[in-house]
Every structure is written in C-alpha cells, then in structure tokens.
C-alpha cells in the first residue's frame, strides 16, 4: 500500500541539502516524538550562519528598526535566521540586537575585535577592551544572505561541516520529504478519482 515497501532502486537518492535553507524553527506540539527535537536542532547547528568566528571577536552588535520599512527587512532576517546559528557555535561571543532605531536611520552590524596586544583569549568574556578595533557592515537594503556573505569575508569565519551523525539525519529528512511528496501526489490522484466516480454516480441517478 505504501511506496516505502517498494522503493524504486533506480530512483535518484535525495540530496541532503534541503534543510540548509530551512529557517531556525522553534516550538512544536509534537516534541516527544523520537528524534524530532534532534532534527529540529539540526537547523540550528547547520545552515547559513553556522560558522566559528576567530577568537579576536568578542562582541557583535546589531542595530536596526523595529519594522521593515526603509530597508530593514534583511537585518531582521539576519537576526532571525543566521544569528542563532552563529550564537550556537560561538557561545562566548556577546551578541546584542538594538531595535530602537527609526526606519530612516541606519542598519548596522558592528564587530568588536580584541586588539592584537590583548588578544590572549584567556578570558573570552572580557567585555570592555579600550583598545578594541571595530568594523562595521552596513546592512541597509541588503538581504540576509547578502549580509552573511559580507560578514564571512570580513571576519574570516570558518563554516561548520556536518558531522557523520548530522549527515545521517539530513539524509533521513530528505528521504522523508521525498516520500511525503510521493504519498501526497498519489493521494491527490486517488481523491480525484473518487470525486469523479461520485460525480458520475450522481449524473446517473439524476437521469
């Protein structure tokens, strides 16, 4: 009855990349289902934003408006999609979002680097560095991916590769997606057929 039992061996195996574009998803009514959370958390461990920053960076400040008008959509998306992943892989880095700016105001991302002299990262949470070097990205009128590319070139962040376990989960998810698409297509056909039969029956009855 299900395609699972007779999977076509010639079928092209699904590519485990779909989740990479997935948004960071939080909340579920179904959290107790086995593996569910671990798959959900995959979206935080991997994807755009999942990168390890060099040790000199100790703080990232984002500044943009509360609503999206005036080119403030990209910064918000960056915060929602990339920043959780960045925070997961760089838990010691302080990340702040200030959304008190007016819509015609700037949208900036400021990076704080420890100066070379004090770059010994014994205290990663060192918050006040008078000699800190700052670099700024103008985020206004840019997409979240555009901001991320600029961020990577500026910081030299190293992207995180999926572990073996992650790859297995990704593969599993991709398979589920293709199965689900197949099933829904088949069911759609089936429903169509039933509907047509009912209509025919109706017509016969009316005659």
């Amino acid at each position: 009855m299900r395609s699972v039992t007779e999977r076509d061996p010639r079928r092209v195996p699904p590519q485990p990349t779909e989740i990479w574009t997935a948004k960071v998803y939080c909340g579920s009514d179904n959290a107790l289902q086995t593996d569910y959370i671990s798959k959900m958390l995959l979206g935080v461990r991997l994807g755009p934003g999942a990168a390890v920053l060099p040790k000199e960076i100790y703080r990232i400040n984002l500044q943009f408006a509360k609503s999206v008008d005036g080119g403030h959509m990209g910064p918000r998306k960056f915060w929602r999609n990339m920043l959780p992943r960045l925070k997961y892989h760089n838990p010691t880095v302080d990340m702040n979002v200030d959304r008190t700016v007016a819509n015609d105001g700037p949208a900036t991302l400021t990076l704080f680097f420890h100066s070379q002299s004090s770059s010994t990262p014994t205290t990663p949470a060192e918050q006040t560095d008078p000699n800190a070097i700052t670099k700024t990205i103008n985020m206004k009128n840019k997409t979240d991916t555009g901001i991320w590319e600029e961020f990577v070139t500026l910081t030299d962040a190293k992207a995180v590769r999926p572990t073996e376990e992650d790859t297995r989960l990704l593969q599993e998810l991709a398979e589920q997606n293709t199965d689900s698409a197949e099933n829904s297509a088949r069911q759609k056909e089936e429903n169509k057929r039933i509907k047509r039969e009912r209509q025919l029956l109706q017509m016969v009855k009316q005659d």
């Binding site: 299900r2 939080c26 593996d35 958390l41 992943r85 960045l86 925070k87 997961y88 838990p91």
Partner: protein, 299 residues
Amino acid sequence: MAAARTPLAQWGHSLLSQSRNKPDALSRICLACQSRYASAATTAKYRRGDANAPTKKKKERKHFKTEDLKNADKYSLVEAMRYIRAFEVGYPSNSPKYEIAMKLRTLKNGPLVRSRLNLPHPVKTDMRICVICPPDSPQADAARAAGASLVGEDAIFDAVKEGRIEFDRCLCLDTSLPKLAKAGIARALGPRGLMPSAKTGTVVRDVSAAVRDMVGASEYREKEGVVRLAIATLAATPEQLKANIKAFMDKVRGDLNTLSDRIVKDVHEVVLSSTHGPGFTLNGEFADEEGTRPEELAR
C-alpha cells in the same frame, strides 16, 4: 515518526496490513493493487449513529498519561543551555527566562502540589503585593517597609469591589480575617487565586516577614500533572541555574513527601525551556564529558 525505515519495520508494516485486510493474501505485490474500500458490512458497522453497532466503552484513564522516555532525546544542562541561548539571541538578557516543567506521575484527582520557594538566585519580578491589615498599625508600617505596594483594609475592599485589582499577591493579617470575610470580596479575588486563606499560607501573623519572603519568592502549582516555574533569567550562569533547579527539585520532592500517605506522586520528567525556545528533557547531568564546557556559557 516514520524515522524507522529499517527492513524489519517495513516487513512488520506489510504483515500488519495484510492480516488486517486479507488474511490469506500472501504476495506482497498484491498489496499494491488491493481495494482501498472496506466492505459494505464493515462500513455499516462503523457508520456514525448506528444503534446496532456494539458499543465498546473506553476505559477511563485515572492517571495523567506519561510518555515512555526510553527513546526520548535527553540533554545535559549545559547542552540544553547552549541551544536555548542560541534561540534567545538578540533579546535583552533580562526579558526572556529559563522555564522548567516537571511532569509528575500522578492521579488526575487528589491533592495538588502548591507552594512557593525562595530561589538561591531569584528571578526578579516586580510583583505587587497587597496586605490587608489596619492601615495605621505598626504592622502596616512594617509591611510597607518590606515592600508591600498596597496596605489597608476598607480602602482596598472598596477598590476591589469597583473592579480595581492592582496587585498580584494578597496577604492578610490574621486579626483582619473576619473583616475580610465580611467584606464579601471573595467572589472577585477567589477566581484569581488572590483570596487569602490559611491553607495557602497567606493569612499570617507576621506580615512583614511574609512580604519579605514573597518579594524574592516564586510560586508554583501543579496543573494537569505538571509543575511549571520560571527558574532563572537568561543571564544566569550554568552554576546559578543548576543551584536554582536543585533548590526547586528538593522543594517539590519535599512537597511530594508531605502529601498524605495514600497519595503516591513522583517525578517523571524534567524539561528545561525558555520564553522563545524549545523544551529539552534533562538527563540529570550537569555537562557532557566531551561537550560544551560550562565556562563557555558563563556570560
């Protein structure tokens, strides 16, 4: 979840569906071309409102359902914190809170766990406390000094009758209790859980001490078999959160033990969550051996 795509599961599935529909159908290929419709006899049986259908009464559940946690993902405190901090990134550190939910193995009826405790690292809330006692007594002055926002008798009764309830907790001096009872505001306060009563420990002799206790205290109660509590602010370090969770667990265990002998309740699951984050079932460990180090989450 259809995660298990093992050959064994497939085999089991096909076996099941075969036996359900056609006990003697052997070929697996035949499955694909089976009829999808149940026979007329069976549809009649399951038709809604059929008086002749045998009614099988479902046995009512006496306990709240507890899931089997054998296969559930469990996390150490530090790992859970790392994820939660990622989900909460960008919010001001004083606004989101770590929350804890403790699932109990318990009957649906019977006494409930309800108490309050002072956490070692309090979750700061600007709670407004109302104290009912004669407004010009020394007790009233002491209560005001301890942090009560409303102190008085008739003035408060009148305000409540008008619908102005400008407090989150209500205490009552034991000598003022008859006056409170006469005022007839239980109808307004009762449903909100604000009506002072000796049972909840809100009718007291020493008002100022009670207020002081309450200012830093967190209240919790069991609801549908779960005790929930905001356990720490997001700025808490792993050690602070651990201390708070431990204090909470000990307090609830104490509460469970003081219930009557016939009532057996115990802790089934502890879930750490936060204002915007998902929930993580804790495994009781502080940190994984080769996982995140607690120092990394110190800030």
